[in-house]
Amino acid sequence: MSTFLHVENINVYYGAIHAIQGVSFDVNEGEIVTLIGANGAGKSTVLKTVSGLLRPKIGSITFAGEDITQTPPHKIVEKGLAHVPEGRRIFQQMTVEENLEMGAYTQPQSGITADLEMVFEQFPRLKERRRQIAGTLSGGEQQMLAMGRALMSHPKLLMLDEPSMGLAPILVEQIFEIIRTLHKSGTTILLVEQNAQMALSVADRAYVLETGEITLSGTGAELVKSDEIRKAYLGG
């Protein structure tokens, strides 16, 4: 296994607020790594910094051997890093199919039909609703669309920010099943979750983020057993 994503001592600010204070972590090829932490710990900020929406003041980010610290976000996508943002952020006024086409923006036009089929196979619900305006989809369908849209770019590394947020338990189960499937098919995954239980159960390794710093790391199995984690994130 080789280091795929290497985040080295990043410091991110919102104006004067020092939101991320020297965070470092690695994601190896083929792994599922999860980043867990309470509200406001800085999980989304880390993902936005990796995908280039935010810039670290100090620190560096290397993806597939290339320094992407200063690369604009649209170029980072081209390199094979897709980010499903918090709150889905699908294009509400566009149809399901148009959303997926936007996901394929960096891909050659010729492959889009086949890729649409690939996504529809993964998410049959989206196929039935391909002409529906995305804003009218249910929460679970919107999450599927957000994930499908990211898959259209053939990501080597998929970053998911709270894919289970606001979903009923059965849908959470479904989303995690899809995460497992994607992983089996070779996609490397960086997963941000508040649902620590579920996240740790699928993850190879995990990092715990607290107020902008990584306070704990280990394999998923290790962290599930850790007392600290039990108390703070698993409800005893």
């Binding site: 929406l53 294009f91 006024q93 566009m94 936007m102 923006y105």
Partner: protein, 293 residues
Amino acid sequence: MTFLNYLINGISLGSVYAIIALGYTMVYGIAKMLNFAHGDVIMVGAYISFIITSKMGLPAIVSVLAAVVVCTLLGIFIERLAYKPLRNATSLAVLITAIGVSYFLQNSALLIWGSDPKSFNSIVDFDSIKLFDGQLVITAEAIVTVCACIIIMIALTIFTGHTKMGKAMRAVSEDKGAAQLMGINVNSTISMTFAIGSALAAIAGVLLCSAYPTLLPTTGSMPGIKAFTAAVFGGIGSIPGAMIGGILLGVIEVFASAYISDKLSNAIVFGVLIIVLLVKPTGLLGRKINEKV
């Protein structure tokens, strides 16, 4: 019959407003800013066309193409120089800059072309259509203007609905951050929008001055404000809204000045706008916009 004449005049004037309003509304939709210099780009387009036809004696179509090319470049240039550095600034800073650009363009025109009014030669040279023993007159300018407006509307609908670039523009207008995560270059999309808006402004300038042939450095400012009103009226950010808003505004203006009072027509136009916004704050076809980082 006079009613029909007024209606045709109104639709024709409204078509010009609509073409200008499209530029306002597209730039607002994508860059979330009011480009108050948009009206002055119209004036630049009209001067370019004037020079090429009246001074150089070249055919009208050449002058229109030249105006479009110059205005497109001017639009891209303005965005790069004046607005791009303010991408993360407050909207007030951007607004003040846009007003500054507007005065800059007007005063540059004053320096280059002087303050004496130029008499613009219409770009169309076929005769008006006279119906019912000459009681109903449809001017050649009106026909060309309305046709141009329809063609532009169809072209933009196809562009935004069926092309990759057009869909990317819609994506950017909905959510810049998410659009970037798709691999869309937001800066070049914004540039493209300014280019399209300014090209349309050039066409509007030529059509406007063909119907109302007095050309001055301030020629673009009042139609610019009216078209902005039309864009808000129709729902700022909405392309069909700009179209409908523009045409309604032109019709209301012509009827108000014909049947109520020439002097009050502008007051009536803005009065109608205020009433529409009181009843429907997002304009006729507008939607609420949520901004996300």
